[in-house]
Structures are given as C-alpha cells and as structure tokens.
C-alpha cells in the first residue's frame, strides 16, 4: 500500500520494455513523471480554490459554493470554463510581448518546484543533490514576472503594486533562506530525500527549539511569498484594484491565479519536508501522511486569511528586516550550540536564549513602531 504508485509505474515501464528499446523506456519514464506532475499541479490548484472558498465561507458563517455539484465539487470545473471563454483584453498602449510572457514565466517556476518535493517513500520525481537550494533559486525567479506584468499594463496602480510586491518578495526571501540553514546543518545535506530521512520515526525537526522557531519563520515567509492575506498588499482589492494583474483577463488571469495557488501548495509541501518530517509517520502509507500534513498547513494558511487584517507596507518591511532577520541569525547560532550539547543543558539553554532574544528584539523595536493614530469622532 505504501509503494502503490511506485509499483504502478514500474509495472507500466515493464510493459513498455517488452516491445521498446532501452533508451526509449528511459525516455518514457521521464515522460511519465512529467505528465503526472503536469496533471497533479493544476488538479490540486483547482480543488485548493474550492477548499479555500468553503473554509472561508464557514469562517464567515455561511456555506461556500454548494450549487454546482454535490457540496460544490464541480465548482472548479465551472470556474475553468468561465476562464477559458472570457474575452482576452490587452491594454492598447501596453507592451504586448511582455504582457503575453508574464503569465507564462510565472507558471513555469511554480511547476518546476514540484520536481524536488518528496511525495512519499521513493516518490520524489528527481532527487537532486541540491534540492533545497534548487527550490529557493526557482522560487526567487517569481519576482521577475510580477514586474513584467505590472510594467506591461501601463497602469499607475499596477506599477505601484508591482514595485511593492517586488520589494516584499525580495525582503522576505532572506529570512526564508536563513531559516532553512539550521535544517541543512542538522541533516548534513541539501537533498530533500536526505532531509526527510534524517527525521526518521518521530524525530521531526519541529519538535526541537530551533526547529520550532525556524518553522514559524519559514511559514510566515512562505505566506508572504505567495502574496496571501494577511500579506497580500500586491493584490489588495481595497487599495490597488487588483494589483499587478489588474489588466489581465481570461486565461492569462487564470495563469496568475494558478501560479499563486500552486506556489501556496509547493511552499506548504516544502515546509512539511524540511520541518515536519515529510512523509514520516507511524501507521498509514507515507503519501497519506505527506498530503495530510500539507493540507493541514494549507488549512492554517486559509485560516489566517479569514482572520487577520492586512499589514501596511511599512509594517511589512519592518517585520522582515528588523524582526525576522535577527531571529534567524540567532537561530543558526542556537542550532550549533544545541548540536554539541545534547541533553537537558542543550535544550534548556537553547530555549532560554531564543525566548530571551525574542523579548529583547521586541523591546528594542518598540521605539520604532509607528504610534497608533487617535481618531476623533465628530459629535
């Protein structure tokens, strides 16, 4: 049961090997992996949109979409048909080539990250020796098509949104990268398969003091990288119409939408791999554990969306540079200390240093927090 998909693929390749030469079977193996990922990505994205609308609906004390199929299960199909058949409007003075390229360039990296995600035991598409670094590099390309999209629209609001988005994404990449460093230190390898194998049994990294802090920092940075609320200043409907994808409609908007949800899934999957133990778990098949943990994290992301108000842009930047970055640096030091002092001393001192530093940083930042505005009501 655990190796169900691996055995399916091996059976299929054996069947092909009966009447095809060797190198063609190798090519077929690559094609099968590619096709599975290309189908899995958009399929997950479709049902993620439905999940989000239902959960947000329940948080807001109403049902989500429930007309289109039983429990609204065919709603994504209806959404897809709508997106395909909408008219494609291009701004007249915009840059047509870049307007066309931006949605394409944003979807390709979102799909490429699926290659290093370990979906189960022996179920990584490509176990690269630099898996974690590959994921960081590919998700850092995402800032670039946002600029392209906002520039090509020739719209003041799109340009403002694009610059804010780029600043936000570049600032939050740094705590994200530094939060991964303790994980790499402890598992002595950059490959995602090795990182999951180093957390065997129930020794997940999140149950250690530095792992917990690292997981929280990485999770916040992941929410920012997908432009999800409460950090969704680039797409804030009340301020910037729709941000950098204002002038997009139809299938191009669907690509931006797809890239955002696939990014959310991928970042949750990587957080699970690096901190929560990947596919490790006692009783059930490994891929069931993996998808369960990933969807638990995605549920938390949707919960944050329904609960918190939006950050202002200066609060956002201050949070990254003045709070998250020092925390990640102290985290790295504490990890080293924890590794060389196993036992109660290591745990106690690490926990104390992290908590103490958190309070110190909050106290140091207090003079710089903008003061609350006092509203006077007219009588």
């Amino acid at each position: 049961m655990d190796q169900l998909f691996v055995n399916l693929k091996a059976w299929f390749l054996n069947l092909l090997g009966l009447f095809l030469p060797d190198w063609l079977v190798m090519l077929a193996s690559i094609v099968v992996s590619g096709v599975v990922i290309l189908c899995l990505g958009p399929f997950i994205m479709m049902y993620l949109t439905l999940l989000e609308r239902k959960v947000i609906g329940r948080i807001q004390n109403r049902y989500g979409p429930n007309r289109v199929g039983p429990w609204g299960l065919l709603q994504p199909v209806a959404d897809g048909i709508k997106m395909f058949t909408k008219e494609d409007i291009i701004p007249a003075y915009g840059d047509k080539l870049i307007h066309l390229l931006a949605p394409i360039v944003i979807v390709v990296p979102a799909l490429m990250v699926f290659l290093v995600v370990p979906f189960g035991r022996n179920m990584t598409a490509v176990d690269l020796s630099i898996g974690a670094l590959y994921f960081l590099a590919i998700s850092s390309i995402t800032t670039f098509p946002i600029f392209m999209g906002s520039w090509a629209s020739r719209n003041k609001y799109s340009m403002l949104a694009g610059m804010r988005t780029a600043a936000q994404m570049v600032s939050y990449e740094i705590p994200m990268t530094l939060a991964i460093v303790p994980v790499i230190m402890m598992s002595q390898s950059l490959s995602t398969g090795a990182i999951v194998a180093a957390q065997n049994g129930l020794k997940w990294f999140v149950f250690t003091p530095w792992g917990l802090v690292g997981f929280l920092i990485f999770f916040f940075c992941a929410i920012v990288e997908c432009n999800r609320p409460p950090f969704d200043l680039p797409e804030a409907e009340s301020e910037l119409i729709a941000g950098f994808h204002t002038e997009y409609s139809g299938m191009k908007f669907a690509f931006f939408y797809m890239a955002e949800y696939m990014n959310a899934f991928t970042l949750a999957a990587i957080a699970v791999t690096l901190f929560l133990g990947g596919w490790q778990g006692p009783l059930f098949p490994s891929w069931l554990w993996f998808f369960g943990k990933t969807f638990a994290l995605i549920f938390m992301m949707i919960w944050f969306r329904g609960t918190f108000p939006r950050f202002r842009v200066d609060q956002l930047m201050g949070f990254a540079w003045k709070f998250l970055l020092p925390m990640t640096l102290v985290n790295i030091l504490v990890t080293g200390f924890w590794h060389f002092n196993p036992g109660a001393v290591g745990w106690g001192v690490s926990g104390a240093v992290l908590v103490g530093f958190f309070f110190a940083i909050t106290a140091l930042n207090r003079p710089f927090v903008p003061e609350k505005r006092i509203y006077e009501l007219a009588e």
Partner: protein, 171 residues
C-alpha cells in the same frame, strides 16, 4: 548511446547560440526594459551552461543571486527613472563604429592566441565531482580570508548604497 550524445551536443550548442543572440539583444535594444529582460535570459542560459560542467551549486547560486536579486534591483532602477528613457532616441553614441572595429580586433587577437595555446587538460579533474560540502570546506579552510574580506566589502557597499541614494532631508 550515440544518439543521446548527439542530442545533448546539439542542445548545448543551441543553448550557446541562443545566449549569444540574447546578449546581442542586451546591447542593441532601444527599449531599456527589453534589454533588462534579455539580460535575465542570458543569465539563465549561463546558469544552464554551468550544469554542463557539473557545477550544480553554481547554477543554483547564479539563478538565486543574479536573476532573483540583481535583475530586480536593475528593474527597480529602470522603473524609477522611467519617463526620461521613454523617448525613442538613438541608443548608440557617436563612437559606435570605432568601438565595433576595436572590439573585433581585440576578439581576433585573443582568439588567435587562445586557439594556439595547448591547454594542459588534467584528466583527474575532469572526472572529479565537487560536492557542496567540499566547497564549504574550501571556503572555511583555504579561502577563509577572502571570505571575510568579501563580507566586509558587502557591508560597506550596503551602507554606501543607502547613503548615496538617500533623499536629502536637510531642512
């Protein structure tokens, strides 16, 4: 595996030709934004070329640093100084013909020297695969001094860039 090798070789030569075409785009396109996009394409092509040399860490580092950060800074600067560059004017100054001749002469000279030199190919290095931990050991061991100097340089550049580009808020 001859077919496979031939396919890989064709792929690598196409990659090099494509990178050169995008590099020509960088220096000749009038619209500065398009030139920055061509630069991004050149950098990604170079990163893929590093993969041919089994330097995967360098490829990932190149994409992370160059395409993720340097291009973002360049595009920020282009967007902030935008309305001047929108004029459709000639982008080449008066020195374009002598520059072309000079560069061609330089290329021919260096090319001749390059093709004549017998490069001492070391077979043991050809098969060596450098892993990330080897790089880490080298960086902390033999090259720790340049590493520390570059961190000081980065701090200096950070402070310098902020000081130069700050608005003068003197009353």
């Amino acid at each position: 595996m001859d077919l496979l090798q031939l396919a890989i070789k064709t792929g690598i030569y196409t990659l090099m030709a494509g990178t050169l075409v995008f590099a020509l785009g960088v220096v000749m396109l009038k619209n500065l934004f398009h030139a920055a996009l061509s630069l991004a394409a050149v950098l990604i092509g170079t990163a893929i070329l590093y993969l041919v040399f089994h330097a995967e860490f360098m490829a990932a580092a190149q994409i992370l640093l160059y395409v993720g950060a340097v291009i973002t800074v360049i595009i920020f600067a282009i967007m902030l100084t935008e309305h001047i560059a929108e004029r459709s004017i000639i982008q080449r100054n008066k020195q374009s013909l002598p520059a072309l001749l000079g560069v061609l002469a330089l290329l021919v000279l260096i090319g001749k020297v390059l093709l004549k030199t017998p490069w001492p190919v070391n077979p043991s290095t050809l098969d060596a695969r450098v892993s990330v931990s080897d790089l880490g050991v080298a960086l902390m061991g033999a090259y720790v001094f340049p590493f520390e100097v570059i961190s000081i340089l980065l701090v200096g550049a950070l402070i310098g860039a902020v000081v130069i580009a700050r608005k003068d808020s003197r009353p």
